[in-house]
Symmetry: C2
Subunit: 211 residues, 2 copies
């Protein structure tokens, strides 16, 4: 079922909600729950049960009448759908405040994001350690990533430096870039770019606050 | 027109895209452009022109046949729609790496977010200054915000401390909370909560990378 569902185009808002579903399911699991309903999940997240049900069916998960979903099975399907059942090895460039925040972010506990290498251009930071990773010099990036290629790149450098960093990462074999710099990257076709715009959440907040 | 459009429920993905539109329009404005088409904007952001046109019409903006949008007018409509034509005075609690990153985030240039007060519980940080704001002690929050109430609260404390901070902020008159802690807050009806989940962007990335 999960395999079949992947061929359907799943809407972005659904995918955005899946990590929260996984988090809620994990918490239920720790409480010893065996079965879970869309209503249980919806309540935890202030969503409508119909929304949760729709999202679940888009991932290929199937509930059973009157019982809901088998919790462990559902969590497994969601994690598989997200490819969070396998390690996502990544390089992070830019060990400033935002990079440091990502390295320490507890919300990533579910996603198997494994930030293997961290680079920064600031000589005062290079060689020091943040959350058990030693910061390498950006000038050593070619050397380091040629020896140890990584598929995912996370960019947390200032906007002015982001395009150059992205180009170098792509040249070094990175196939997906998670870009936190507020600039649109221009990259070759076939490279996945996920543009993180912290202003988007604030836009939702201000629109809701004034509506 | 803009007033009218506000009564229609504008979908979340549209609102999420508006900050990027504003950024692109600002850049075009600085290049001296007077008219702009949906295609111009779409190209900058790797979107389809039809998507941009649809989003614009949802905000109440009206293009003119063959000429597109009057740039200054369009930017004004979008900023008005987002309520980014007025200052959004906010308090930030948690001056760790994530809080510091938000205080220095250049992507907020457009949104008139004015972080007036910053609180932290770490005595080593209290009294120091980050991006020209002096960090106050969380224990002084009641005192400080009673004298100087703020409508928006940004929470960048660890998950375990977030609910208590949120309760205190709400008691002090905060009406909208932007929560970066990976925990669902339980708050009274009528309080706006925008839950920022940094895992959501990563979910989009991993799904795209493996599809």
């Amino acid at each position: 079922m999960a395999e079949q569902a992947k061929n359907i185009k799943v809407p972005e808002p659904t995918i955005r909600r899946l990590p929260a579903y996984c988090r809620v399911l994990k918490a239920f699991q720790q409480q010893g729950m065996e079965w879970v309903s869309a209503t249980d999940i919806a309540q935890e997240l202030d969503l409508k049960p119909i929304q949760v049900r729709k999202d679940m069916s888009l991932t290929g998960a199937e509930g059973r009448p009157k019982r809901g979903f088998l919790l462990n099975e559902l969590l497994e399907i969601l994690l598989q759908f997200l490819h969070w059942d396998e390690n996502q090895r990544a390089v992070l460039v830019g060990a400033g405040a935002l990079g440091t925040a990502l390295l320490g972010y507890s919300g990533f506990a579910m996603n198997r994001l494994e930030i293997v290498s961290v680079f920064d251009s600031n000589p005062e930071v290079v060689g020091s350690s943040i959350y058990n990773r030693t910061i390498e010099a950006v000038s050593d990036m070619e050397d380091s990533l040629t020896k140890n290629p990584l598929p995912v790149g996370i960019i947390t450098v200032p906007a002015a430096a982001a395009q150059e960093v992205a180009d170098r990462l792509v040249a070094l074999g990175v196939r997906a870039i998670w870009n936190f710099a507020p600039i649109k990257l221009k990259l070759p076709e076939g490279i996945i770019v996920e543009q993180e715009d912290l202003s988007s959440g604030f836009a939702l907040l201000t629109v809701k606050l004034h509506s």
